[in-house]
């Protein structure tokens, strides 16, 4: 059994995962998620860690409504209280400012998430693009 296969099988077992594509050349596992899923990136990091991999900066896309939650910009899933905190990408602050101007709008946010020391702890999505 190859390492790629181990990762592929483990990720596909996570409820809410639609498909997994592992590329050894790129060193990347692309995980597509089902609508209405409740998957969190730290959950996937923890899984990779259990399989012997060190989670690194992760690109992610999320859909929802831009909202101000306790003074912080967040992506809220319409009709629910579920939120994904958003943060400035220090290398590219413009998209975060763009997002602040779109409060209340339904958008798709592309960005990156950086794992902390505690892999289980929720981390914000650093905004890279707002669609």
């Amino acid at each position: 059994m190859t390492c790629a296969h181990v990762v592929d099988v483990a990720l596909k077992k996570v409820p809410g995962v639609e498909s997994v594509e592992v590329s050894l050349n790129k060193g990347l596992a692309t995980v597509k998620l089902k609508p209405g899923n409740t998957v969190a990136v730290p959950q996937l990091w923890q899984l990779l860690h259990e399989k012997g991999y060190t989670p690194k900066t992760t690109a992610a896309s999320g859909r929802g409504e831009l909202a101000n939650v306790e003074g912080n910009l967040a992506l809220r899933v319409s009709g629910t209280k579920d939120i994904l905190r958003l943060a400035v990408d220090p290398k590219n602050p413009a998209p975060f400012s763009d997002a602040q101007k779109k409060l209340g709008q339904s958008v798709i946010v592309h960005g990156v998430m950086v794992p902390g020391k505690d892999l289980k702890a929720p981390v914000p999505l650093q905004v890279g693009q707002v669609l």
């Binding site: 596992a29 692309t30 995980v31 209405g36 969190a40 996937l44 896309s61 999320g62 992506l75 994904l84």
Partner: protein
């Protein structure tokens, strides 16, 4: 009193359940093992 207990139970559940949003796609780096 039962209503207050129900409210307290709901408040505790909301505090304990982690906040999550709907993710569409995640690209995980799997280059290299520990």
């Amino acid at each position: 009193m039962p209503n207050r207990l129900s409210l307290l139970a709901c408040a505790l559940m909301l505090a304990v359940i982690p906040a999550r949003a709907e993710l569409l796609q995640v690209d995980l780096s799997i280059f290299g093992m520990d």
